[in-house]
Symmetry: C2
């Protein structure tokens, strides 16, 4: 794509509202803009990253045999009253009335809604097991929205739900999704620590959190320097080997729960077994903070010049930098390279702005595209281009063929 | 995918709530479920159709040089007060307060929000022209939600906005998107009539509507039987040739507007020209009712047995029907065919339920997959399969190789 058409409003100055490194970089690199505290616009580059993360999540969830659906954001309050969670969530839940006086809430999560759906559409053991998921906007009236996408009032979550006949079935699905989560975070280039966690208002007995280490993180995880066991804060001694554990600040990016019967009993989601006896469906739920994940990745992958995107979720894989767009020869070579990269299937950006070389280098570093191909006057005279690696700052003077081959090898 | 894992709760009976043919079919075929009046869950098959429509829209919008972003659903009321549209929209706009007492609205559309974004990020003629779009959930407190996805309170829209230096630029972008809309509806298999329309509360002088003929449609379009000119209702005589026009019921699926300066002036979105003079940006806006489009397509493409999906937006291109899943030989052949179709890149469903042949044929017709490949005992003894064409009900007894070749030819 062409820089001049994509809308990438990079900033030289750091906006006042930026209260964390990742937020600062998201704003400066033109990935997001704040509409009001807690509500963000995803600009084209931010949306591209979001979509790449979502594609990874979909692949790994589908590989678990899960099916995607999409539940409404507007819910009737009465479903929440049946589980009592309208009280548990309290002021976090945004409430409104429509013109007919219906009491509505904006979904902060969807356990009640999906359980009601399954109650009305599943009746037999023959329809189980089942895993359903969605990628959907959630709304929470946070008392203190901050750190940009990390604690927002409107944010994107992937929430999955498993439905089983019995505990053994739940255990199996829980393990399956547990492993899928490890793959998802690994593919996103995110380091995580996994801890057993408290289930809180979600209910159920067993839950695990996936925590991304980051200086600004508000959740503390203890990590044993001896055996590398991670555990929830409070346990200062390693529960496995009793050594003194280190405290690490983290951001919660995933949380999975064995819910058991809490929702199916409260909402009457039963199935009949082979003998015709009715039992409540055994449920699990599995969340990933999708929009927050972008910030967590940036917290872990940056340097003084900007973001260093892992290649699987970078907004583009390669950027072509013609250093002088008024020079026909340079533009011809740059467009040629751009077309070849696209033809090879690489997502490619070309910086076609009439800007100085310094501006282009700075912006390419800032937005974190893994590879740049620089087309300048001196090199093309020798039929060469320059390949730059964002992460290591290495540069290579190569023929066009060698440069293409290097992109194939590196991406 | 396997039917038993996808969650396709087809219904034999028509639910009471179904107040139109398309809604009835969407419910019976397991594409959507109502959570409450005006709010629907997209089940996996419904979501697949939605995503195919969205992919077509993205391709055609990107081909116009448009960039995708994503604006928030929660808006501060004060931006709407600046244009006075909080009053224009009145009770249609869902309003709420957060815990800090901020006055918020749920976005019924996004002109104010995108104009504010552009105002804060565009300052020079060098950044224009620009086309931005999003596919986003909108909220409208309809006085009478009905016909399922056709008039919902929570629905999905594609809204695009063009930003230009002058009227000539607007005219160019307007024509570009006008042509893109024709392609989008054609690819979705939807017949539309195009009329000049009233701009209403959107503002601006010129607007065109894309209207899909359907018996339940609430908007009447006049079509001249002589010259085929379509025009807005009221004009009973054809404005082109003066013949008496026929009245056709239609559903509005697209609406495009030359907004001009209404929003840029009200919100102060200016650009500086080459001499440094400030002028308001000239805007256009371009909507498609994405979720409603599914219903419109179904209204136009069905028979007594169910939906007949156009191939580009069908939830699956092919369905494999093993008529007896307890027969190992049948299942082996069916899975073999299923794997080959997937390997060839066709989106394929296999009905692996332990159900009678009649149930499988009925459901395959109901959900509207264009082609079925039937694996039954008699045919496989002769190394044959049966190919069924949903639209024409034609059947062909073919070798497996011939069946695969026919799928390639027909899809």
């Amino acid at each position: 794509m062409f820089w001049t058409k994509v809308f990438i409003p990079t900033l030289k100055e750091t906006p006042k509202e930026a209260d964390s490194l990742s937020h600062q970089l998201l704003l400066r690199a033109g990935f997001v803009r704040m509409l009001m505290a807690g509500a963000y616009t995803y600009l084209p580059l931010g949306l591209r990253v979001l979509e790449k993360i979502q594609a990874i999540i979909r692949q790994e969830m589908n590989a678990c045999g899960a099916s995607e659906l999409l539940l409404p954001a507007l819910h009737p309050l009465d479903l929440w009253q049946k589980t009592g969670r309208d009280k548990d969530l309290g002021e976090v839940m945004l409430r409104l009335k429509d013109r007919r006086g219906r009491n509505l809430v904006l979904g902060p999560t969807h356990e009640e809604i999906i359980t009601d759906l399954v109650k009305n559409n599943i009746s037999s053991y023959r329809q189980l097991p089942l895993i359903l998921y969605q990628i959907q906007t959630k709304f929470r009236d946070e008392i203190r929205p901050r750190f940009g996408l990390i604690r927002a009032c409107e944010f994107i979550m992937k929430d999955a739900y498993s439905f089983d006949k019995d505990e053994a079935g739940l255990d199996k699905n829980y393990s399956l999704i547990f492993e899928a989560y490890k793959k998802i975070f690994l593919r996103c280039g995110l380091k995580t620590l996994i801890t057993e966690a408290d289930s809180g208002i979600m209910g159920g007995k067993v839950s695990h959190e996936f925590m991304a280490p980051a200086a600004l993180g508000e959740d503390v995880v203890c990590v044993c320097p001896e055996c590398l066991q991670a555990s929830a804060a409070g346990s200062d001694l390693c529960p496995k080997c009793n050594s003194k554990a280190d405290k690490v600040n983290t951001i919660e990016v995933g949380h999975i729960f064995k819910l058991g019967l809490k929702y199916s009993q409260a909402l009457g989601a039963n199935f009949s077994d082979i003998k015709g006896n009715l039992s409540p469906i055994v449920m699990g739920c599995y969340g990933i903070g999708v929009s927050r994940l972008i910030s967590a990745v940036i917290e872990q992958n940056n340097d003084k010049d900007g973001i260093i995107f892992p290649k699987e979720i970078a907004p583009f894989e390669v950027i072509v930098l013609p250093l002088d767009v008024t020079n026909n020869e340079i533009m011809k070579e740059a467009l040629d390279m751009y077309n070849q990269l696209n033809a090879e299937g690489f997502s490619t950006l070309i910086d076609d702005r009439d800007e100085r070389a310094g501006v282009k280098f700075k912006d390419a570093d800032l937005i974190g595209v893994p590879l740049s191909i620089v087309i300048g006057k001196k090199n093309i005279e020798e039929k060469k281009v320059e390949l730059r690696v964002r992460k290591t700052k290495e540069t290579f003077i190569l023929s066009k063929g060698e440069a293409l081959k290097s992109v194939v090898d590196l991406v």
